[in-house]
């Protein structure tokens, strides 16, 4: 976020932490001070793309990328008209096509592709579907219904809780008063030691606190909204990917075609290494050992000794 810089006055978030970047419909950002200065009269054109802008349309930039801001803006505008819902379509396929179309309109407008054609399309749609648009605008969508229901529930819960709290407090107060009275009575009429009586009462009070009922397990948020949407069946199970048979390592078989060459550990035991130039410290640092060269030379000397060319593959 530190590299947010106003393109006009070059103020950065780092130098002026209170700076706010504002965007308008075209998606180009300006800082608040510049907006105040440039749009003193309430309207003007964008510095970068010369689109006429109104001051009242400036909003604080929420996303880092101004293009995203622009897209949000356009999406809001487009969805005001394209407000059909799944119930308005006969098949899921049609609904998906419709969504696809909306997305392509938003994309075109955001990326300045075929602006005129796209706007015409929107106008056409508005004309064709005026009734549906109006009807849907008045209708509250299913999501909104759900939210309203939740808010209602929340309110009701809140009410109940508030009442319960009040009740508890009341009882607490009464209890305390009763305890106090009992203590005073005890002190007045009892023959026991005053200190002992005080201690027993303090003990009782402590135990009472401990004995309070355990808190029931939370099934809802503190606001009273239940976890998850109860009417939905939840997510689809993850698809299982067939990974095939797991790899099992098996040692490579070397066709020797000659006497068996010595093994790695034989090389020092049999004294082969004595007849090879031993490696220098520098070579050892690189991972080289005289054994390696020795073993390789011995292998090459022995492999293929039995070779008899039975196979001849003449190629022309």
């Amino acid at each position: 976020m530190d590299d947010q810089i106003c393109p006009r006055c070059k103020t950065s978030k780092y130098r002026k932490p209170s700076m706010k970047l504002m965007v308008n419909v075209c998606g180009h950002a300006l800082c608040e001070a510049c907006v105040d200065l440039l749009f003193l009269k309430g309207a003007g054109s964008c510095l970068e793309c010369n689109v006429p802008l109104r001051r009242c349309n400036f909003r604080v930039q929420l996303f880092e990328d101004p293009m995203v801001e622009k897209e949000v803006d356009i999406r809001r505008r487009v969805l005001r008209d394209f407000n059909k819902r799944e119930e308005d379509f006969n098949t899921l396929r049609e609904y998906n096509d419709y969504l696809e179309e909306v997305e392509s309109i938003v994309y075109n407008l955001t990326n300045n592709i075929d602006i005129i054609a796209t706007n015409k399309k929107i106008e056409q749609y508005k004309k064709d579907n005026r009734d549906t648009i109006m009807r849907n605008k008045s209708k509250v969508s299913r999501d909104e219904l759900e939210i309203e229901r939740l808010i209602e529930m929340e309110k009701a819960h809140e009410e109940i809780r508030r009442k319960e709290c009040l009740k508890l407090e009341e009882e607490e107060k009464k209890k305390k008063i009763r305890a106090k009275e009992a203590l005073i009575d005890e002190l007045m009429f009892s023959s026991a030691d005053a200190r002992n009586i005080l201690e027993t009462f303090a003990q009782n009070a402590k135990e009472e606190v401990k004995a309070q009922a355990p808190v029931p397990k939370a099934t809802q948020f503190s606001t009273g909204i239940g976890f998850g949407m109860q009417q939905q069946s939840g997510f689809l199970p993850l698809p299982k990917v067939d990974e095939g048979v797991p790899f099992i390592y098996s040692a490579m078989e070397i066709e020797t075609d000659g006497p068996e060459p010595p093994h790695w550990h034989d090389i020092e035991k049999t004294g082969y290494v004595k007849n090879v130039r031993s490696e220098t410290d520098q070579e050892r640092a690189g991972g080289y050992q005289a054994n390696i060269a020795c073993l390789r030379a011995l292998q090459e000397a022995l492999l293929g000794l039995y070779h008899v060319a039975e196979r001849t593959e003449l190629g022309l």
Binding site: C294, L303, L305
Partner: protein
Amino acid sequence: MYPGSTQQKFWTFKDENDLVQLRQEANEHFIEKHKAGMSPEQSAKFFLTPAEERLLLRQYELHLRDFCRRFHPAQPRTVYATACHYFKRFYLKCSLMDFHPKEILATCAYLACKVEEFNISISQFVANIRGDRDKASGIILANELLLMQKLNYHLTIHNPHRAVEGLLIDIKTRSQLKDPERLRPHIDEFIDRLFLTDACLLYAPSQLALAAVLHAVSKLQENLDTYVTDVLIGQSGADKLSNIIEAVRKIRTMGKSLEPLPRDTLRLLEKKLEKCRNQENNPDSAIYKQRMLEEAIDEDDEPNYPVTSESGADENLLTGIVKLRSPDT
């Protein structure tokens, strides 16, 4: 690992007859293509026979050895061996009239430098060549891909040099021979001689190494026979012993019976080659220059691989499919 390598699978042949047959096929293939209405007698006179080709190739193998020996900076010996392998393999597939051996020789040496990790630039490389160096580097680079293609991209070569080291270590460790280091000059000399023969196309590198060591031992009038039979081969390979002895004997005969090359005939053959070689692959010819010019113009459209018209027609070579002739594979 030689067993299972492409060298063992595709480039170790059963005996000399296979090699002779392959060379003859290459020769006939070329003549068939280029005789263009000559009568059989004319073509027999005009073109080189397989035997003549063989003589010339042996001559160029000698040149290759001298070139590698004189090379500056000094090369590891495996570079020469690898280059020699490439050279021999290449002329099993192509006639020497098709591609002139002096060009292929340099290309083989250059490719071998790369494969054997003897890092050298093309300008350093052509500094070892007399004559027009720019032209030489042009020829080498143009032929490099062609060479690899003809080798079927089987570039890894198992050479007997490391096997010799292994045998010497083993001899020092497990036999009573005094001062095995004495053997070294004789071994090296014999291995160099072997590369002038076809032994590397017929036997495994470890067999070549063993033959070289035994040859050096007999030169010093020592005896390692008990070591070979009892220690090296031992009980487990007793039934294979006769094979090995046979192989070693043959390799040693090959190394010893190198005939000297007849100088005068070779001079005549060189002249004959100049006449009958494929002019399309001769950098000095007008046809070649014309072709290069055309390729340079086409370069924008497609990569400029030096695929010859001949190999373009031969689908087998392009796709790398090898005709198998053995019953068991």
